[in-house]
């Protein structure tokens, strides 16, 4: 891409003047990452400014729909008594789909419907708002409707704060934590990202569909506040990506995740792709009659480890989606938990660095160490090659044909023909789908190494 002009307005060296607008730390963005970082720092007794460009935290945030909040055990024990959720996920399906066929692996666990739970559907304007409230309760200074437009630097080019778009909007601090999400303009301005490659991003679009609570519970076979999470491979009109369908209390979230270059290179618009997904025989009966009450879109950093920026520099840390920490590997679509964990790690690191008086890259070195010791970088390292695999043409187009073809043949009764052997079916369906044995073996090996 793209030498289009974007983002922040770089400032020529601005000389710091100490004033009332001085904080220990400025956290840019009150999403899951920012609110967790601010909570940790405020609890450690630091003066924290938490900037949010939306009118309230969560106003700008959209995602598929499932949060895995176990990471909050440490920060907010008994979080499940307060978190504004829609339904606890007790049923999780993975669906492989071609135009006319679908194979579903369906898992249910009643244990996921009791504390401490596993995942829950939630609306982000509710969840992010709640999480930011916790930061405010801890003593962080939340500034809504405030867009950070650039970093402030002193005569030695050291980062000394953030310029916002409010009048008299310069805020000073010895450390800035960039939690500003996928567009990550702060880290880009600081030169921490490599040149932008659209192939690393997907566009997520979704429809929120209203249906009566009882209809949802009947169609999806759940009761009380239990809910269902369906991840879909295929079903995106030939554009590399995936689909999802989640149950909220009285709405459904149905949508698609679409690889940007693939989307831009064809002619079907995003909302039409959702429309076709909704019309698929495996999905239509579930969403039928649902009235669209909100349409939304957001970009996902999809490529994981390979696209991560430099995470630490003098007086600046990058977290969450701004650091591409979202895990988007087909059967997983997790980012909120990664964002919260990295925000907490950033908060702890900066508290430590402030205590020792060194917020240079060296003083902030504990950040990456903490991430490596936690699931954040451990999962990303392990699943380094998964995003590429999942979004590859073979996984996207050929394997669904092959797999659903095999299953169809296994269950089809061709009497008077006798049942064919599984090996024969495999061979024939592999050939029919145009899959070469060599590629299959290699993908299986990558898949095994990643997921195994």
């Amino acid at each position: 891409m793209a030498d289009t002009t974007t983002g922040t307005t770089p400032l020529s060296a601005t000389v710091a003047t100490a004033s009332a607008a001085t904080f220990d730390v400025i956290v840019v963005g009150a999403g899951p990452a920012g609110s967790c970082a601010a909570t940790v720092l405020a609890r450690a007794g630091h003066r924290v400014a938490l900037l949010e460009r939306g009118a309230f935290p969560g106003a700008k945030n959209m995602y598929g729909g499932v949060i895995y909040p176990r990471i909050l055990d440490r920060l907010h024990p008994q979080w499940w008594e307060q978190v504004p959720i829609q339904r606890w996920i007790t049923r999780r399906s993975t669906m492989v789909m071609t135009e006319t066929r679908a194979l579903t692996i369906d898992f249910r666990s009643e244990a996921w419907g009791e504390p401490p739970y596993n995942g829950a559907t939630a609306y982000r304007p509710d969840f992010d708002h709640w999480l930011a409230d916790q930061a405010v309760a801890a003593g962080a200074h939340l500034l809504n409707a405030t867009t950070a437009v650039g970093l402030l630097r002193d005569a030695d080019q050291r980062i000394v704060g953030v310029r916002t778009d409010r009048p008299d909007g310069d805020l000073w601090a010895s450390t800035v934590i960039a939690c500003d999400g996928v567009n990550s303009f702060i880290a880009k301005e600081a030169g921490l990202h490599e040149e932008l490659d659209p192939a690393n991003y997907t566009l997520g679009v979704k429809e929120t569909l209203a249906l009566p609570r009882s209809v949802i519970e009947e169609r999806f076979g759940v009761r009380d506040r239990h809910g269902v999470d369906i991840e879909i491979l295929g079903g995106t009109s030939g554009v590399n990506g995936g689909g999802f369908l989640y149950t909220n209390l009285d709405t459904l979230a149905v949508g698609a995740v679409l690889k940007l270059p693939a989307l831009a290179a064809q002619q079907t618009r995003p909302e039409e792709i959702i429309g076709r997904l909704k019309a698929h025989p495996a999905i239509a009966p579930l969403v039928e009659g649902g009235e669209i009450v909100e349409y939304s879109a957001h970009v996902i950093p999809e490529a994981g480890r390979s696209m991560m920026p430099t995470l630490t520099t003098d007086r600046l840390l990058v977290t969450g989606d701004a650091a591409a920490m979202c895990l988007a590997a087909g059967i997983w679509l997790e980012g909120v938990n990664f964002a919260m964990a990295s925000g907490m790690a950033a908060g702890e690191t900066v508290a430590e660095a402030l205590a020792s008086g060194d917020t240079s890259a060296r003083g902030l070195g504990g950040y990456e160490r903490r991430l490596r010791d936690s699931f954040v970088l451990a999962d990303h390292d392990k699943l380094r090659r998964a995003p590429g695999l999942v979004l590859s043409d073979r996984v996207q187009h050929q394997y669904p044909e092959m797999i659903t073809g095999v299953v169809e043949r296994m269950f089809r009764v061709d009497n008077p023909e006798p049942k064919p052997g599984l090996r024969r079916i495999l061979r024939e369906e592999r050939r029919a789908a145009g899959v070469r044995i060599r590629d299959l073996a290699r993908d299986a090996w990558i898949g095994f190494r990643s997921f195994g």
Partner: protein, 102 residues
Amino acid sequence: MTLTNDGLWPEVSFEDRMSTVRFDIGERAHITVDSAVCGDCSTRECVVACPANLFVPTSDGGILFNYEQCFECGTCYMVCNREGAITWTYPDGGHGVVFKRT
């Protein structure tokens, strides 16, 4: 609601679809498109990719862009590969899209 697409799914018009979204529109156009640059562009990635369908080709070969109903997602500047075509910033604080059940 009318049935289109061979009656496969109930379709709402694009205007109705966008009317489900709340926008607190700011005074400043946070994204601008230089239609002169777009005149040389034959690939038109933005037109199919923008989820809000804000890039409209004009009869004189340019692009008509309105910033008001924008999701602030970033897709357009990522898929466009012509220098200077899109100038992209966030809206002023407190303005722009306001999600509710997302």
